[in-house]
């Protein structure tokens, strides 16, 4: 089937198998390898991207379901050369180690701060609780999001 998806502001039209998952469309079809695949069962959140305005786990979304919609990935987080405060926060607060969960965590964090510019620690933990990090024990991810909240949102 033929579909058109607007990814980070650019339209992409491709012929795909109906069963193709969005994560594979992004990674293999468009070469946007910043989003990762981690578990197949919607548990880990390494594949989180935005579908229109909502974070989704793209391992459990068909590419076909994104036809005519907008997708935002980690590659679209910075505004040109200017990093998003969330990206700055993850660097300043050592919010990543291996970096594999980081894109998904940052996209969820961006969504949280868009809806709740001054979250409490508990609200940050709640927001990222559908995603798994194996390196940080979450401490510095939470600090990173709170840093971003204090430094430009």
């Amino acid at each position: 089937m033929k579909l058109t998806v607007t990814v980070n502001g650019t339209d992409h039209t491709r012929e795909v198998e109906p069963r193709l998952l969005l994560i594979h469309f992004l990674r293999d079809g468009l070469g946007l390898t910043g989003s990762h695949w981690g578990c197949d069962t919607s548990n880990c959140g390494a594949c989180v991207v935005w579908l229109d305005e909502t974070p989704v786990k793209s391992c459990t979304v068909l590419a076909a379901m994104a036809d005519g919609h907008r997708v935002r990935t980690v590659e679209g987080l910075a505004d040109g050369g200017r990093l998003d405060p969330v990206q700055e926060g993850f660097t300043q607060c050592h919010g990543l180690q291996c970096g594999f969960c980081t894109p998904g965590m940052m996209l969820t964090a961006r969504w949280l701060l868009d809806h709740n510019p001054s979250p409490s620690e508990a609200e940050v933990r709640e927001a990222i609780s559908g995603q798994i990090c194996r390196c940080t024990g979450y401490e510095n991810i939470v600090r990173s999001v709170l840093w971003a909240s204090r430094n430009g949102g």
Binding site: E17, R19, L20, H24, R27, D28, G31, L32, T33, G34, S35, H36, W37, G38, C39, D40, T41, N43, C44, A46, T73, V74, E75, L77, A78, L83, Q87, F90, T91, Q92, H94, L96, Q97, C98, G99, F100, C101, T102, P103, M106, E121, V124, R125, E126, I128, S129, G130, Q131, I132, C133, R134, C135, T136, G137, Y138, E139, N140, I141, V142
Partner: protein
């Protein structure tokens, strides 16, 4: 962070520097194996056994081979023709690459399908018809040695039972004597259940054999690329210089990426057969069901003490479930890893342990999850026993520990099983943890709450690890001594490139190692580029696991930098027309003693070393150096942890309220990175104590094959950690550092379990096995404890 103020060494290069590697990761521009796409690359999938134990009657791959998108199908029979159906493990056993005779665990590899895309490869494995003759499985280690137990390893000539090894350490007679004369002896049966490191990136490989150049290039999720290269050369017969392994960015490892898995070898064979690059990436179920598991130790421990609470002796008897093939990854002479460091942090007279390994119909592995080669199990055993003893004696567990901890003046200390602890000030660390936690106040609060019917627990653990393997006199893996090399080149403008043998999986080597070199040469860490993870560009070494990067490879980097500095002194002397002995190293420069105006930095010296300046006879130009570091001993980090929990006795639910962790890993090169590593390990401890277990049923079905079943902690289960530090330098490491990557994983589980058991003490609970799920806690309260590792009543 609270704690003893650290003195940063290294001319100011040490300290909490943000990481160099972050720039690419926050932009989504890391390069993990699955991100690499080569022209013409094929994609592989593995057909795995649905049964735990069965004879293979036939494998018919004809329909899969006929699939229009399939390029090749490899079966065990195909590999057998090449002599590759079996491969050696890291523990002197063999492991089936693709099963030929039997399947021995659920998830075992049977056939390897190579197709033009990954979806087609998955389709085609469904087309392979396998006829099985089911056999009864051994899914419970405690029955593996029964006379009636099915034989797992009938491939081994003369093998009549499921015993892998019997191994002992310590002095049995002396220990028995101590126990016979002790006022108090308490014991406890405990299971350290099977667990899995589950890095977020699964394991995978791209094999690319170039027949024209005769060169095999592997992009691989490898924690030990150099050791892997040597093993592949031995396995495939390819000359070692014609094998290049690139281990790019790794999405975590934790031990899961130390072994060589059957899929790797199949990808190599497939690339050689098809002439094209072949990519194989595990899915999550494959990772959890067939990759390296960890732990699975069934332990009985006993501790002997005087009536006054002086610990006198320790003994342990362990049944170790090694799965279907003995593929544990540890120094070869240590079949139970470093378990015999189980005397822990205490001054006692005698100790003895015996470990029996058994085969079962489960996936192979065993040493694979930040365990410092089984120190995890050892620390859990002794720290649970000390708490059981405290209960029996009616002594506060902190007080009992303080009474028995090794004293600073006893270091270097040789423990009853022979380990030589390098340095430590244990009481200082415990006091700091207790101060940070407000220990006395917590006990008062607990008493108040108990009076109101609330169940609050306070759990301690004090751990000592031995990390940084290891001394070549007695530590090797498959004959390869556990040394690591470093090559340092300083360019004419004074910028440096350090090539190291170890491979980061998130530990931040590109930053920490740059700080190490910068500290030795008076450079900024920005001026040092760290190259790693490519065997064609880096010196030989055994890799990153067992918290060995800083203790071994870090030491190699420092030694190389010091060689450079020594040569720079000679060059500087020629430049300044003085004798080298007239120069002193100060503030990152070589300067003339008594004339600090005459000073040269590495940048100026490097340009001269590459120039036409006349050098003293016998002095080569340039400023390059290599070093190989052979550690004289392990390093022995330690720490004191306190975990506060609240337990709901009606639901069995445990909430971790606080976690105080004081770690001493010697000199901290980058304290920010060190703290990050500790955070990770504390989450591991909470996960293992409360959630994580790979459980099997009686039919040998793995019930932990997805993240829906194998539960990992999220941000909601973890508290905000309270970290502290003391610094006791290692006397033998060149900058006084010790390894830290596994400390918290090793030290934290017993603190959580001790806390939960402490909470439940008024209900008569003396012990409950991990994971302390709500069901497990509730059953312990009812006096009917659950077996944590087996889904049967």
């Amino acid at each position: 962070m609270i704690g003893v103020r650290e003195k940063y060494e290294g001319n100011g290069a040490y300290g909490p520097l943000t990481r160099k590697e972050d720039a690419r990761f926050i932009r989504g521009r890391g390069t993990y194996v699955d991100d690499i796409k080569l022209p013409g690359m094929l994609h592989a999938a593995i057909l795995r056994s649905p049964l735990a134990h069965a004879r293979i009657v036939s494998v018919d791959a004809s329909a899969a081979r006929a699939h229009p998108r399939v390029e090749a199908v490899i079966t065990g029979a195909d590999l057998a023709e090449r002599g590759l159906a079996w491969m050696p493990t890291l523990s002197a056993d063999v492991q089936a690459v693709l099963a030929t005779d039997k399947v021995r665990f659920q998830g075992q590899e049977i056939a390897f399908v190579v197709a033009h895309d990954s979806y087609a490869a998955r389709d085609a494995i469904e087309l392979i018809a396998v006829e099985y003759d089911p056999l009864p499985p051994v899914s419970d280690a405690t029955t593996a040695l029964d006379a009636a137990a099915p034989l797992v390893r009938d491939d081994v000539p003369g093998k009549l039972d499921n015993r892998v090894f019997d191994w002992t350490a310590g002095d049995k007679a002396a220990t028995d004597e101590v126990f016979a004369g002790a006022d108090v002896v308490v014991g406890c049966d405990m299971v350290y259940p099977r667990s899995h490191p589950a890095p977020l990136e699964t394991c995978g490989i791209i094999a690319d054999f170039d027949a024209v150049r005769g060169k095999l290039t592997l992009w691989s999720t490898s924690q030990a690329p150099h050791a892997h290269r040597t093993i592949y050369a031995t396995l495939t017969g390819l000359p070692e210089h014609k094998i290049r392994i690139v281990s790019p960015d790794l999405g975590g490892g934790f031990g899961n990426k130390v072994p060589i898995y059957p899929g790797y070898l199949c990808a190599i064979v497939a690339s050689m057969a098809t002439g094209k690059p072949v990519k194989w990436m595990e899915d999550r179920s494959e990772n959890l069901m067939s990759g390296s598991f960890a732990r699975d130790y069934h332990m009985h421990g006993e501790i002997a003490a005087s009536a006054a609470g002086k610990i006198l002796g320790l003994r342990a008897s362990v049944l170790a479930d090694h799965g279907a093939f003995n593929a544990t990854a540890q120094p070869t002479k240590f079949p139970a890893g470093f378990f015999h460091i189980f005397t822990g942090s205490y001054d006692l007279r005698a100790a003895f342990c015996e470990v029996t390994g058994v085969y079962t119909n489960k996936a192979p592995g065993g040493v694979a999850y930040s365990c410092s080669f089984r120190v995890t199990e050892a620390v859990y055993l002794v720290e649970r026993l000390v708490d059981v003893l405290a209960r029996r004696l009616g002594v506060d567990p902190a007080e009992l520990r303080m009474r028995n901890l090794l004293r600073p003046e006893q270091f270097p200390y040789t423990c009853p099983t022979g380990w030589q602890y390098d340095s430590g000030d244990y009481p200082r660390a415990l006091r700091l943890a207790m101060d940070m936690a407000g220990y006395a106040e917590l006990r008062r609060e607990q008493a108040d709450r108990r009076a109101r019917g609330d169940y609050m627990g306070i759990g301690l653990s004090f751990f000592t690890e031995g990390v940084g393997a290891g001394p070549r006199s007695h530590m090797d893996i498959l004959g390869l001594a556990m040394a690591d090399g470093a090559d340092l080149r300083v360019h004419p403008t004074g910028k440096a490139v350090l090539a190291i043998s170890v491979q980061t999986q998130g530990q931040g080597h590109e930053t920490t190692f740059a700080q190490l070199v910068a500290g030795e040469l008076g450079l900024s860490p920005d001026e040092v580029e760290v190259v790693h993870g490519d065997t064609d560009q880096t010196p030989f070494g055994l890799g990153t696991y067992g918290s060995r990067s800083t203790p071994v490879s870090g030491a190699a980097a420092v030694m190389a930098a010091r060689k450079v500095r020594d040569r720079a002194r000679i060059v500087a002397a020629a430049m300044l027309e003085v004798a080298p002995d007239d120069l002193e190293w100060a503030e990152g420069t070589w300067r003339v003693r008594g004339d600090p105006e005459k000073a040269l930095g590495i940048g100026e010296i490097a340009m001269a070393a590459h120039s036409s300046i006349e050098l003293p006879a016998g002095v080569e130009g340039h400023l390059d150096a290599s070093a190989v570091y052979n550690p004289p001993n392990l390093t022995f980090p330690f720490g004191a942890y306190i975990c506060v929990t609240d337990v709901d006795p009606d639901t069995g639910e445990v909430a971790v309220r606080r976690f105080v962790a004081v770690d001493d890993c010697g000199v901290r090169i980058n304290p920010m990175i060190v703290e990050g590593q500790v955070h990770r390990g504390l989450a591991d401890g909470i996960g293992m104590a409360l959630m994580q277990a790979i459980v099997f049923d009686e039919a040998g079905n793995c019930l932990g094959g997805s993240f829906m079943d194998y539960l990992l902690p999220t941000a909601k289960e973890c508290p905000s950690y309270e970290l502290g530090a003391t610094v006791t330098p290692s006397p033998h490491h060149p900058v006084g550092a010790k390894g830290v990557g596994e400390s918290a994983t090793v030290g934290s589980p017993p603190a959580v379990v001790n806390s939960v058991v402490d909470a439940l003490a008024p209900l008569g609970v003396v012990h409950a096995d991990m994971p302390l799920t709500p069901a497990s806690v509730w059953r312990a309260i009812q006096g009917r404890p659950l077996r944590p590792d087996l889904a049967v009543e």
